[in-house]
Symmetry: D3
């Protein structure tokens, strides 16, 4: 098992940018998500909401550092239909992260591991690699996923 490293830490100075959209073609959402991530968003997610006159709208949420606000606005005002935005201050706690390579019956695969106070609390197979292996080997994706988890667990021991 090889690895690369990043420390557990908390980022102050984060912002959740929100926009309620009740007149935008929902087809546009994935394109907008991709543009925002490419422009530096830490995360992008959409929440189904009910707006004035009972309209089924969607709320865009963009998590970004304060220094990235202007870039996000550029995308949001250009690509969505909103006439306004909300900013909500946030802090982000991020676990320490390492990537391990484990040997599996589908070849070597990557596992992302999360550390809280120096202890492993999460491990997750790299999803895109699992999809590729499932397609290549013509096996269920869930079988690949389970194989990778199982191999990591055998090598690294249980979480407790």
């Amino acid at each position: 098992m090889e690895h690369s490293h990043r420390q557990e830490h908390t980022d102050g100075g984060m912002v959740v940018i929100q926009a309620n959209l009740d007149d935008m073609n929902p087809e546009f959402t994935s394109y907008i998500t991709d543009l925002l991530l490419a422009a530096g968003a830490n995360d992008v997610y959409w929440i189904p909401i009910i707006m004035k006159k009972g309209r089924p709208g969607i709320m865009l949420n963009v998590l970004v550092g304060e220094e990235g606000i202007a870039a996000m606005e550029q995308v949001i005002f250009a690509e969505t239909t909103t006439l306004g935005l909300r900013y909500i201050r946030a802090e982000c706690h991020r676990l320490g992260r390492e990537f391990f390579r484990v040997e599996t019956c589908f070849g070597p695969m990557t596992v992302k591991v999360g550390y809280h106070q120096g202890k492993v609390v999460q491990f997750a197979p790299e999803f895109r690699e699992c999809e590729e292996a499932a397609r290549l080997h013509k096996v269920p994706l869930k079988e690949v996923y389970e194989e990778v988890r199982s191999r990591y667990r055998s090598a690294a021991g249980p979480l407790v």
Copy 2:
């Protein structure tokens, strides 16, 4: 307490018409609901769904008798963006219904009562009247609603 009557019965020959919409402005939904009800729909409701490429769409559902299908299609194809519809056969069981008038401290109000096998199982204040009384008397809507329920219950006895 006065009243009007309708028997409990089951309607065969009902249809749920469904259309998945991922490219329609959600502002249009309430206008479309009103047109469909005016054109004879028994009920109209919308279900948030997730469509191809993870798009947050909405599914239109129209409950109508078979004889009303053509009228519904006229509205749906003209007013939504769909290129197709699904029909699913259904039967509808409808409780016997009566409307009662009860005296309340906000004046006489209507209660809709539902009967299953001759027994009262539901009673509901007429919502629009409660809204009007709440506005007129400048009291909480929930207080009006509770008053009407309470008066009906005193007059008619508990459900058990």
Copy 3:
């Protein structure tokens, strides 16, 4: 094309008031939305949530300036069933807005235009006028909407 004007700006001192409701009759939501808007709310929206014991609740969200908090509380405590509220600080970025009148085959119609850094980024037909025109002329609402957008675009040029 005539117009009226408002500058792009950011309001600090906004608040999102939230209440999780798991024991309120959902019929009450639109009445409460209307009361809150009439009492000065900038925006009101509802989010479907899952609460303790897996109950499908709804979260009321009210966006308002700090000076409006007391008025909102008056309505929320009187009209909903909540025993508490959350306040979350927010800032609101609002685009510059102008209203234009454009000539269409359904008569003169209003378009709301949004400006970011002096550039047009949004334009939206006034929805209520489109609904009225659609009813009056017995044409699909989407046709009216498209006609207004198309006329504005011809007059004002594309967004790029």
Copy 4:
């Protein structure tokens, strides 16, 4: 590994009973689910929907055999606020099922296995047992779950 057995099969004559509820206290949902399951429902689930006037309602869905309809109606009319029901005919395809016992570091645990055309396609730890073990041993539930899956997989081989 011990086991008990049930064949893969398809049940015709199933019905999905649906009721749209826009005036029921959502607190009632889990109580109603339990009553319906106790009265013989095969499955009960709730779908968030948007009803007339933009009300955020919930749709009750009960899956049951035709012979169970009357018992379900008894519960639904007594316990919900609905004035009507829809029946939609369905067929149910059920996998063959076996229960295995596997040895784990938390003691012997049950795994439910699903067969399609004689081949194992699913296996799932018995959830309640995992919860109990997690509480008893003061370890994360996900660790127990993973341990059980991993032990079954070692004993029975991969799905492919």
Copy 5:
């Protein structure tokens, strides 16, 4: 009618902890909710969201005082699959609360009452007691609920 008391007040120093989960087995949610409440959370709720690549995720929300953050993190990192958290500052306004006992045809029952500026604005039957009475007396839960509300209202007078 007996009672116990707590004053209306506002708590500064509250936090909403959020985690977006797109790779967690949804079966785990109720177990995690229970652990968080046992560890001192004021409230726990889940919001359905749409995440990267259109995945239908769920957002965990935990409301807690600042002093409880470490305890919540312990549970969240151990039991969910998240690699990070957001903290959003909040203030909580809590109504004054009293519990009353009222005589009903199902025996004495508890009602929770909420006060805003010294005035009763809410009253709610203790839900668990209503469930027990409904089971014991084999009557609809809604009948028990209504009886308790009606008795409280007769004793204490309307809200207005």
Copy 6:
């Protein structure tokens, strides 16, 4: 404007296959959608639901002709975690469809047109082409979309 053609028609013998999933990693949804479409599904969509014990599950829906059921089952049982399926019979009404090419300031683009009883009722720009043009010309996607709609409308006339 060139074109290709397909008649308006109704397909009997369609089926909606449904599976309620409360223990599947939501990351798997888009992969499964793609496999089902590749295996011949007419449409695939997911509905957020609330299952036993208040679990936030998702319901898989696959629309397919009867002859495609076995192929869908193969994928669903292999790739999801379900132990069973429901089939609901449906008919599908599909509009006549033509594809037109229109000249725009971003080059020639495709518009899909829908006919009901020989009359144009829908037209929609080919979404993937709009995305490509927006990326290539570095303009907002909504501007490309509007340009294509506007050009088609100028060439073909309004819907009324």
